[in-house]
């Protein structure tokens, strides 16, 4: 499946697509949406997403989506058309240095100058994109190259002397880590998107249950450990739960697995986990000791290392100190009893948290949920309890508004029979709203949950907390009538203003299996996301309700 948009420089490729039926092409309405859709496809399947766009503006429009995938290590192969080789550098029509522009936000990129190199380059592109720490790869193809004819030879295997990612963790380091875990009295497992990417969820669950340790997930790791499990403390970080952040701050052994100590997780690194010895498992050596110095680094694929740790743990026949662990859990339960996600359930306005809780209930926790960026994203992460990986699809690293809806198209195309929900806000949804048209063309019954609070909510929240309530440009004026907008694109629109209508409306929407439904919830404009670790503060310095 290829997501794309035609143009002059890719006409030969589109002509070839026209004359075959093996590759399905999905025509988006903007190249940014092509990359996000391919990204959603990749995140929900574990397979690489493929994009085809034209030169110049086609390529530059795709850049936001490429950078989004890069920050979250998502495998994409993006084909960009280029002007004919003879014109490169001449400021030709629709010419841009695509390789140059994308260089800082790709894992690697290629400019194909000879048709004889094309097949091997494509093989390399998929190989690089999907192995090691995954990421987007751009293949720039000049029009004369895609016009020429050559004998087709697609290599079965490929080896690159300069690219051999380490997969197997060092046995001695793994032994050290196991030893440290067995000695732990206040341990925490902190796991991230690497577990999802390496399809290591089952190994993580076995490992966590074997040890009996508390576990917290990053925004990118949600679903890799079942959120309904008692050992799960919820998400950590800036809008993480009280119990997760307090456990991090007070732990004596921290085991980081496929997570990268992002600033939204650590808060102030000077105050981060002051009493912990740290184990860090990651496929990317550059992620280790980048932000926080660790004691036991292990470079390797998360799944392989987890399975090896399980083996070694079992082989020792030893258990962590049960009494110490019981004491630790007692403390954690006290933190958990704070009920940090509580909100006003008796309000006469719709609370966004209520919408997310209802969504979880109505979909019985089984939906694929994509989100845009902002308050709604955090509420979705806090309130939708993901029990399986690849179900929670959001732009964590780059924080790209406009991501959620096109990503949902990619997810829906990959899983035609599943419920796919895009949780968004009136700010984000307008950044790729044109894709309502694509959804009609391909019959994609995405359910849009628009938390419409008439504010760029997260901006408003920061302005309230840190800029003395000077709400500069965070109020969204002149909003469209979303119901009629959805209808004009041929979909169903719903307006929900009363808290009592939230559940019935959502049930009704979910019943429309083959229709896209745009649910416009008018929510409390003043609601904030809690808890919050202000930027630069320590993890234990949370603002609670």
């Amino acid at each position: 499946m290829v997501f794309g948009y035609p143009g002059g420089a890719v006409l030969p490729i589109y002509d070839a697509l026209y004359q075959q039926d093996k590759v399905q092409h999905i025509l988006v309405r903007h190249e940014q949406a092509a990359t996000h859709a391919a990204d959603g496809y990749a995140r929900s399947t574990g397979k690489p997403g493929v994009v085809l766009v034209t030169s110049g503006p086609g390529a530059t429009n795709a850049v936001t989506g490429i950078a989004t995938a890069y920050m979250d290590s998502i495998p994409l192969v993006v084909f960009t058309g280029q002007v004919p080789t003879a014109l490169i550098g001449n400021d030709a029509f629709q010419e841009v240095d695509s390789v140059g522009i994308t260089r800082p936000c790709v894992k690697h990129n290629f400019l194909v100058k000879r048709v004889e190199d094309l097949a091997e380059t494509i093989k390399k592109a998929f190989y690089v994109a999907t192995t090691g720490r995954p990421g987007p790869v751009v293949v720039d193809i000049p029009k004369d190259v895609s016009t020429q004819v050559t004998e087709y030879r697609y290599p079965k295997r490929i080896s690159m002397r300069s690219y051999n990612p380490t997969v197997k963790g060092h046995p001695r380091q793994i032994r050290k880590a196991v030893e440290l875990m067995l000695e732990a009295r206040r341990p925490v497992l902190y796991t991230g998107g690497g577990v999802v990417l390496d399809k290591a969820s089952r190994a993580l669950v076995e490992f966590t249950r074997l040890l009996g340790f508390p576990i917290t997930n990053t925004l990118m790791g949600l679903g890799s450990y079942p959120a309904t499990d008692r050992q799960f403390l919820g998400m950590l970080g800036m809008h993480g739960t009280y119990e997760a952040n307090m456990a991090m701050h007070n732990c004596d052994v921290l085991v980081a697995i496929g997570a990268r100590f992002d600033d939204r997780v650590t808060g102030n690194v000077e105050k981060f986990c002051p009493t912990a010895r740290i184990v860090h498992v990651d496929i990317d050596p550059a992620s280790i000791s980048k932000n926080v110095k660790v004691d036991v680094p292990i470079v390797g694929a998360v799944g392989q290392v987890l399975r090896e740790m399980i083996k070694q743990l079992k082989a020792t026949g030893r258990r962590p100190d049960e009494a110490a662990l019981a004491e630790w859990w007692k403390q954690i339960e006290e933190w958990r009893a704070m009920d940090c996600l509580k909100y006003d359930r008796d309000s006469d306005q719709i609370k966004p948290q209520q919408v997310l809780e209802t969504l979880y209930k109505v979909t019985r926790g089984k939906a694929y949920v994509t989100s845009d960026v902002g308050q709604h994203q955090m509420w979705a992460a806090q309130f939708y309890k993901f029990d399986k990986p690849n179900r929670w699809i959001n732009s964590g690293g780059l924080g790209t508004m406009g991501f959620g809806f096109p990503a949902a198209m990619g997810v829906q195309l990959a899983h035609p029979d599943e419920t796919v929900v895009c949780v968004t806000g009136e700010g984000s949804i307008q950044m790729c709203i044109q894709e309502l048209s694509t959804c009609l063309q391909y019959g994609l019954p995405v359910k849009i949950v628009n938390l419409n609070n008439r504010y760029l909510g997260m901006v408003r929240q920061w302005q309230e907390f840190f800029y003395q309530g000077r709400y500069a440009m965070s109020y969204m004026e002149s909003l469209p009538d979303f119901v009629r907008l959805a209808e004009s694109y041929g979909h169903v629109g719903m307006q929900i203003t009363d808290p009592a209508d939230v559940e019935p409306a959502m049930k009704e929407a979910m019943k429309m299996k083959d229709r896209l439904v745009f649910m416009n919830f008018l929510t409390d404009p003043a609601e904030n996301v809690y808890p919050m670790v202000p930027a630069g503060a320590g993890q234990n310095e949370m603002i609670l309700v």
């Binding site: 894992k107 550059a286 000791s289």
Partner: protein
């Protein structure tokens, strides 16, 4: 690194994107024409150098990387320096060039051009020894280096 178009800009781009500083950089093809060898001089704490090393290793075009400062090594830089050499000063420039084992490679009535090889400090010292007002032009190649003994950077 791979002797391919764009390889150099990947390295340069990495340094600017991550805020590292390049003090000097030299690059040329090796005996294997598919490979180039780059010598790059940078400064930083041990942590920064470790991060730079890891980030460079991640670049697909980087085949192998060696931190010269992890062992004994030889550093060399080539300098060509054009110096005013007239009247009484002429002898002095010649003498200084001899002391530093430089060679005079171009001569006019009023100028000498001196070729000098050595590590960076030696070249700095030569420049400092000359009367500053007489220096017309200085061109330095940037540092290149090789490990001493058995240690070698080979593919």
């Amino acid at each position: 690194m791979e002797n391919e178009a764009g390889a150099l800009s990947r390295v340069a781009g990495l340094f600017s994107a991550r805020g590292y500083n390049i003090e000097s950089l030299t690059v040329a093809p090796t005996e294997d024409p598919s490979l180039s060898r780059m010598t790059l001089v940078t400064r930083g704490t041990d942590e920064v150098i470790e991060q730079i090393t890891k980030q460079l290793n991640k670049l697909i075009d980087v085949v192998k990387l060696m931190d010269m400062y992890e062992g004994p090594h030889i550093e060399r830089e080539l300098m060509l320096i054009k110096v005013r050499a007239a009247n009484g000063g002429r002898e002095e420039v010649k003498r200084l060039a001899d002391i530093f084992r430089g060679r005079i490679v171009d001569v006019t009535d009023t100028l000498y051009t001196v070729e000098l090889t050595g590590d960076g400090e030696k070249l700095d010292a030569f420049i400092a020894a000359l009367p500053q007002a007489d220096i017309i032009e200085v061109v330095r190649s940037g540092v290149t280096g090789i490990a001493r003994g058995e240690r070698a950077l080979r593919v």
